[in-house]
Amino acid sequence: MTSTARTVRCDALVIGSGAGGSTAALELAGAGREVLVLEEGPLISQARIAQASPPENLRLLYRQGGLVPIHGAPTIPFGEARCVGGTTVVNGGLLWRPPDRLLEHWASTGVDGFRAHHLAPHLTEVERRLGVIDQSPGRGNGDSVLLTQAADRLGWHWAPARRAVRGCRHANRCVTGCPTGAKQSMLVSYLPAAEQLAAVVQPDTRVVRLEHDGTRVTAVHALRGGRRLRYLPRTVFLAAGPIGSALLLRRSAIGGRGPGRAIAFHVNFRTVARFSEPVRATEGTIFTAQLQEFADRGVRVMPANLTPGSLAAALAAHPAGTVDRMLAQLDRIAVYTTQVSVRTTARLSAVPGLGAVLRHRLTGGDRDLLRSAFRHTAELLLEAGSVELLPPAPTSLTTAAQATDFALHGRPETWDLISVHAMASCRMGPPAIGGVCDAQGRPHGFTNLRLCDASVLPGATGISPQETIMGFCRLMTARHLEDPTRY
C-alpha cells in the first residue's frame, strides 16, 4: 500500500460481522473498549430484506449468489453470506449446544480450557440474549411432525429444534433472510446492541492484508469503494469466517501453509418426499424437529424450507416432467436435508483475482457414510408415509427395495451435495498436530491478533456450529478482557 491510503487509528478492530465478529464486538464494547467492525459486505436493512423477493435476497446477501464452489467429485456449492450480520442473516437460526463428548474429545487433542463447564455460562448468556427456544410448529411444518411420528414408531431418537427466534411467524424464508425480523441474526441482535455501546460498524470495507512484524499486526489494509484505507489497531479480532479468515492469513503470510490446509465441513443432501396426504410444508418455518438417532456417526436428518423455486431448483437435473409433476402436488411434498459430517477436509488456495479456491476429495469412507445416511433417511421417510422419494440423483424410488438398492449402489460422487458449514480452517491446537492458533485464537507467535470465528474451532462440530462459535468467542474474549497481558 502506498502513503496515499487514508490512515485510521483504532483500539479493537474486528474484521467480519458474522457470528464470531459480532460476539467479540459486543463483549469488547461492553467492557468499554473502542470497537470498530469492518465488514466486506453491504448493510442490507431488515426492511429491505422484507421487501425483496427470495432470489433478490440470495443475490444481495450471499457471497457469489451462493455459488462458491468446493471443487472435486462432485463439485459442492458452499453457502456463506457477505453482508452485515454475516451468515447468521441467511442461516436457519438453529442453536445447538456443543455436546460434552465433542468438547472432551477436543480437550484430548491438546485444546484445553473449552470443556463443558468452561463454556456453560457463555452458552447460557448467548441463548438468553438470542431468545433460544424449542421451536413449535406453525400451521404447516407437517414435515417435521411426520418425522417425529416416524422416528417414534422406529424407536429412533429425535429432538425439538432449538432456535434463536422471537415470535417466529413461519414466513418460510429462513435461508434467504427472515422477512419479519423474528430470527435473531446478528443484524437484529448483537450488532445493534454493540452499536448502542458505541461500537462502529463499517460495511462495504474489505480487508485485503494484515501487515505484521512476525509477532504483532502493525497495520490492516482495506478497500472501501475503491479507496485504500490503512488502520492502525491495538488489537485485531479476525472473524472473516472459515474461508475469509484463512484467506487473509495466507495473503498476509501468517501461519505458513497452515491456514486453510484442512478445512472441516459438513455436506448436505436433499431428499424430496411425496406423501399421499397434504403436508403443507410451505406454511411452516425451516423445521421444528431433527432426527438425532445417528448423530454419533455424524448423520442428522431434518426438513428444509420448501418453496416452488427451491423444489424446482433441487430437481433441475431430474428427468423431464419431474418438476411439473412435483409442483402440481406441492402441498403433498416435503424436502428433507440429511447433514453428514464427512471425515475428509477441504483445502484452500489463494488465487489472485479469484480469492479462495477450494478443493475436496471425498474418501471411500465418506461415500459409504453418505450411502448409509441415505438408507436411514429413506427408511425414516417411508415409515413417515412417503409414497415416492427423489434422492440426490436423477431417479425416483417408490419402494423400500428400490431405496435400499439406491443406498447400496448409489455413487455419491455424482450426487447433488451442498455445504453450509465449514470450520477449523485455522484450528487451535499445538502446531505439531496442524494447529494454527493457540487456545486464545492467536496464530502461534502473535500477540495482538486473535481469531474468533468458525475458523478457530478445533475440528468439525457435527452439529450446526453457530452456538459453538459464539460460545468459544465469548469465552476467549472474556479471558482476554480479564487479563489482557496473559490472554
Binding site: 453491504p42 421487501q51 462502529v200 424446482a312 431448483a313 433441475a316
Partner: protein
C-alpha cells in the same frame, strides 16, 4: 474512536442501479438468451413458457453470473458463446425441422448433459432459472408484498 461512524448510502432501488451495473446485467441477459438456454429451461418446467416467468428466470441467472469473480465470468462467457454450437452438433437437422417440440428439446438437453462444460452450464443455469422464475417477484407476489407491508 478516531474515525466517525461511516454509514452506507441508502440502497439503490432496483430501477436506480448504477449505470455500469445495469449495462453489465443487460449484457449477461443477452448472452444467456443468445446461448438458447431459455428454450431448454422451458423443456424442464412448463411454467417457464410464461413470458414474465421466463424474464424473471433470465434476470436471476444473468445477475448471478454477472456477480461472479472475473475468471469464472470469463469461462462462463466462453461457454455461453460455444453453447449454440454444441446444440447444433447434438441436433444437426434442427433448422430443417422448424420449431422444436418438448420432446425434441428434452432429447437435446439430455445429450448436452453428457458434454463436459455444457452439462455443468445447463444444470447450474437451470437451477438458477427455476429458482428465479418460481420464487421471484411476479405481478401477483408484488401486490401481496405491498399489502403485507402496508
Amino acid at each position: 474512536m478516531t474515525s466517525p461512524a461511516i454509514r452506507p448510502a441508502p440502497p439503490a432501488a432496483d430501477g436506480s442501479r448504477p449505470a455500469h451495473e445495469h449495462r453489465r446485467l443487460r449484457l449477461w441477459e443477452r448472452r444467456v438468451r443468445a446461448a438458447g438456454l431459455p428454450r431448454l429451461w422451458a423443456g424442464r418446467c412448463t411454467a417457464l413458457s410464461d413470458p414474465s416467468r421466463r424474464a424473471a428466470a433470465i434476470r436471476h441467472t444473468a445477475a448471478t453470473f454477472a456477480a461472479l469473480p472475473k475468471p469464472y465470468r470469463f469461462v462462463l462467457a466462453l461457454l455461453l458463446r460455444l453453447f449454440p454450437v454444441a446444440v447444433a452438433l447434438t441436433d444437426p437437422l434442427a433448422p430443417l425441422r422448424g420449431a422444436p417440440d418438448q420432446a425434441r428439446l428434452q432429447r437435446t438437453a439430455d445429450r448436452l448433459s453428457t458434454v463436459p462444460g455444457c452439462a455443468e452450464l445447463l444444470k447450474a443455469s437451470s437451477s438458477l432459472a427455476l429458482y428465479g422464475a418460481l420464487d421471484g417477484p411476479t405481478p401477483q407476489r408484488s401486490t401481496t408484498r405491498r399489502q403485507g407491508l402496508g
